[in-house]
């Protein structure tokens, strides 16, 4: 049984595809829209924007999030900025350039048509956000300010201090609240989707557990959108919020939605290093810091114990500037992360355990003054000092790479529909636009493009061209899905073993980081694929979840998520093992150029790996969507 992976890319020249598609899509009669119900799971940039926009169009929307308010979705934590091809700086930017940078940044593993559309829509996003009152940074003349971000040589990043995600999300959240007040959206906070309901091959609803009462109920609709974010927490330690999970997309996978490129993980180069065993999450220091900070380690191992100010200029190795003279400290994330790992593996890492490199602002402070630096990054510097008790105006920051973003996700076509008809996937939860590596400031752009501008139209096309039968709570497939969730919940609660959920989560994280992290090889991946099923088996035998299912039970919530990570982790390793090449964030040590750069194999691996669930105890099936490049030439990625 192999899937038909039809990406449904519109015909015609690249630049006209989206326009043409918008014309060809079927429309729902305005008077009929309110008769349709659309479920949107997630209230982050992708989900919040989609839910608000669908309601503005007249659909009946139900929106879900696991936090107590939609405003707390993890998008809130994005710091650095959002890209758009506005070319306000007149520095040579264009839609074509943003498109090319994104494809190249993704190491030529993303779909041309989707990425081009993203670049086109990017300009509308900024307009939309400004009109909603997003207080982007401005110049004295009153016009919008920009900065540059890793992997780009133009200044196309819009930002609101170090809180861009917060301000964009508040824009979407306020639009959502406006629609809630109007009655177009019903919001379900503290509600966790635990399964997808598929009736006659179409997504028709979700099974939801109310976190306060523990009630498990079906919620039915005519179409479902998953905008549930990324799965970086499979590594336990990551820059994601503690609640970020794969549950929604993983259950959808087990109901038949293909999972694309699960192994593509982004390790962000600038995070605060791990301080000890108690560490519960890692904190990102925005990449924008690399605009003014210089990354270095001592040239000699003997100097790593010295105070950084005692290492003279000639004894420092500014390794990014040395290895990548044209991009220097602004090299893309995958490259900067690997270079940091190399320096530390070489014994030249600084700080506890030798797992850190310096990010030094001394030159920038000399050049621009402390005030200017404070204005640009004040809140980040404060955050750093609060965590480490060190003052980065005086001593260089110490940073180390950490898991940050997952490029993989559910496979979607040009309409952002998964392999299950009626199930659409938006934002970080899908695989669509970033290939094997995401450029900085591109996730916010993609989430909002999907949510404001793509989903509202493609959902309409789906509804207008599909005949849907009535489905009620008494439908056999609905009842089966609910029963399945109930069974699983009581099974988890019934184990009453000895080990905590967090212990299992940490252990899984260690396996993933060790064998499926920044550098991977076949032997390690095979090893992980032995260890993970063992750990999973122990989990289902020995995990301890106190309390019952009929109350607020945060341990139960965490356990359900970890149970899914314990399955997803294995699929990630399987995908990483099968991809016998290095590309973007996926670095196989067996495949590198003589100078240690990622070595792609376009002849054999220029495809999207879409994994299909094979059933309990059976291996998943690999399906391939070939990546066809008609408009750009594949090249060896170089930032030298």
């Amino acid at each position: 049984m192999t899937l038909q992976l039809d990406a449904r890319i519109p015909a015609g020249p690249l630049a006209g595809k989206w326009d043409r598609h918008r014309f060809e899509m079927k429309l729902v009669n305005p008077a009929n829209k309110r008769k349709y119900t659309v479920i949107v799971v997630g209230s982050g940039l992708a989900g919040g924007a989609a839910a608000a926009s669908l309601s503005e169009l007249g659909y009946n929307v139900r929106c879900y999030c696991y936090q107590d308010s939609p405003r707390r979705a993890h998008s809130i934590a994005a710091q650095g900025g959002i890209n758009a091809a506005k070319n306000y700086q007149n520095d040579g930017d264009s839609i074509q350039r943003l498109f090319y940078d994104t494809i190249k940044g993704g190491d030529f593993r993303s779909r041309e048509a989707n990425v081009y559309r993203l670049a086109q829509i990017s300009v509308n996003i900024i307009d939309q956000c400004v009109s909603q009152g997003v207080p982007f940074a401005r110049e004295y003349g009153g016009l919008l300010a920009n900065r540059s971000f890793g992997g780009a040589q133009v200044s196309r990043t819009f930002y609101a201090r170090g809180q861009t995600g917060q301000q964009l999300l508040l824009g979407a959240y306020q639009a959502l609240e406006k629609e809630i007040a109007k009655g177009g959206v019903t919001m379900f906070p503290r509600a966790e989707m635990l399964d997808l309901i598929v009736v006659n091959g179409r997504a028709r609803g979700i099974v939801v557990r109310d976190e306060l009462t523990g009630k498990i109920e079906p919620h039915l609709a005519d179409a479902v959108v998953l905008a549930t974010g990324g799965y970086g927490n499979v590594f336990y330690l990551s820059t994601n919020a503690k609640g970020c999970n794969a549950t929604a997309i993983w259950r959808a996978y087990k109901r038949g939605a293909a999972f694309a490129n699960p192994c593509y993980t982004q390790i962000h180069p600038t995070c605060i290093p791990v301080a000890g065993e108690h560490q519960s999450k890692l904190t990102l220091m925005s990449e924008s810091l690399r605009n003014d900070g210089r990354v270095w380690v001592p040239k000699r191992k003997e100097d790593v114990g010295k105070s950084p100010t005692d290492v003279p200029e000639q004894d420092r190795d500014y390794y990014l500037e040395r290895k990548y003279p044209s991009f220097g400290n602004l090299s893309p994330r995958d490259i900067a992360s690997r270079a940091a790992k190399e320096a530390c593996d070489d014994g030249r890492g600084v700080g506890p355990g030798g797992r850190g490199v310096y990010l030094d602002f001394a030159d920038a402070i000399k050049r621009l003054g402390e005030d200017k630096i404070r204005e640009r990054y004040g809140n980040l510097f404060e955050m750093y000092e609060r965590i480490t008790a060190e003052n980065p105006y005086k001593v260089p920051m110490r940073i180390y790479p950490a898991v940050h973003y997952t490029m993989g996700g559910l496979w979607v076509d040009y309409n952002l529909m998964s392999t299950i008809p009626g199930l659409h996937v938006a934002g970080e939860a899908n695989f669509s636009d970033h290939g094997a590596n995401r450029l900085g400031a591109s996730a916010l752009m993609q989430g909002l493009a999907d949510g404001y501008f793509v989903i509202p139209l493609t959902i309409g096309d789906y509804l207008a061209s599909t005949k849907l039968e009535q489905v009620g709570a008494d439908n056999a497939e609905v009842r089966a899905a609910v029963a399945e969730v109930e069974r699983r919940t009581s099974r988890l609660l019934g184990i009453k073993g000895k080990r905590t959920v967090a212990q299992f989560h940490r252990e899984l994280g260690r396996i993933m980081w060790e064998y499926c992290g920044m550098a991977r090889d076949a032997a390690g991946l095979r090893k992980a694929m032995e260890l993970i099923p063992q750990l999973r088996e122990e989990f289902w035998r020995d995990v301890m979840i106190p309390g019952s299912g009929a109350e607020l039970n945060q341990t139960l919530e965490h356990a359900g998520r970890v149970a899914d990570f314990l399955e997803l982790g294995e699929l990630m390793c399987r995908d990483a093992l099968h991809r016998e090449e290095s590309c973007g964030g996926h670095f196989r040590t067996e495949h590198q150029t003589p100078d240690g750069e990622a070595l792609r194999d376009d002849e054999h691996f220029a495809y999207v790996a879409a994994w299909e669930y094979g059933g309990e105890g059976r291996e998943p099936v690999l399906n391939k969507e070939p990546l066809v490049y008609e408009n750009i030439k594949l090249s060896q990625r170089s930032y030298k």
Binding site: H278, S280, I545
Partner: protein, 258 residues
């Protein structure tokens, strides 16, 4: 270091609650406050007991999920710091720490340290937005915004909606929260058309939700993890007064069917 915790335990919204004592041993000064609670909770779980429930998510002071009264102070002793960013180096070996949920009429306790802050969402729904339906925007640079205004707007927009201002206020007022949103939007040209209407309906919603009135104690400003200035309340009051005095009658325009 070793600490004694007195933690508010309450099994459910209608159940009775009380302080319970726990020992937190071998606490490292580099731990965050929530990491210290994680360790206490893991030990409780190992014994088969219910861990202490508390809201948290981002753990970097931006999502607004976390929040508790620590020795009677919202978010604890460090100024401008949310509970998740508070580090144990702010405490001393042997300290006793009393941990309670936000206390306010409009924030009923759900369980232990978890409260219901839905009222804050409803204040936003009452008018805390600019009506700009998707697709209707003009070019982002077509209306220049003086940098000072954009900066001041951003200062107010930094609110994370945690509710510390309400918890710290002797009257349980949500004025800092509401004033921050009214200022964020009211300082921008895009926010002008709905400015006075917004002030009226958001303030009205505060009353409906059972928040107390503001008597300018200033406790809110001291507790705010984003150090939002109490000036936003004056701005709210000005907009509200002006709106109340000049409240225009709204006429619905008939479009005809031409």
């Amino acid at each position: 270091m070793n600490l004694t915790l007195q933690v508010w335990r309450q099994p459910g919204p209608t159940a009775e609650g009380g302080l319970k004592e726990y020992k937190a041993t071998d606490v490292s000064p580099d731990m965050s406050f929530l990491e210290m609670l994680d360790v206490v909770n893991e030990r409780l779980i190992e014994k088969g007991e219910m861990p202490i429930a508390f809201d948290h998510d981002c753990r970097e002071g931006i999502c607004g999920s976390c929040g508790m009264m620590i020795n009677g102070v919202a978010h604890g002793p460090s100024r401008g710091t949310a509970t998740c960013q508070l580090h144990m180096r702010s405490f001393r070996d042997g300290d006793t720490i009393v941990i309670e949920p936000w206390r306010a009429r409009a924030f009923p306790v759900i369980k232990d340290l978890v409260v219901n802050r839905g009222a804050l969402d409803r204040i936003i729904a009452a008018g805390g937005y600019i009506t700009a339906p998707t697709g209707s925007a003009q070019d982002a640079n077509s209306i220049p915004v003086p940098k000072q205004d954009a900066d001041a707007s951003m200062d107010a927009a930094a609110c994370i909606g945690c509710g510390a201002c309400v918890a710290a206020c002797p009257n349980g007022s949500a004025s800092l929260f509401t004033g921050a949103k009214i200022s964020h939007l009211g300082l921008l040209p895009q926010g002008q058309p709905e400015r006075y209407r917004r002030a009226l309906s958001m303030v009205a919603q505060m009353d409906i939700e059972g928040f107390g009135g503001c008597t300018l104690f200033g406790e809110c400003q001291a507790a705010c993890p984003k150090e939002i200035s109490i000036d936003v309340i004056s701005r709210m009051n000005r907009d509200f007064l002006r709106a109340a005095v000049t409240k225009p009658a709204e006429r619905s325009g008939g479009g005809g069917d031409g």
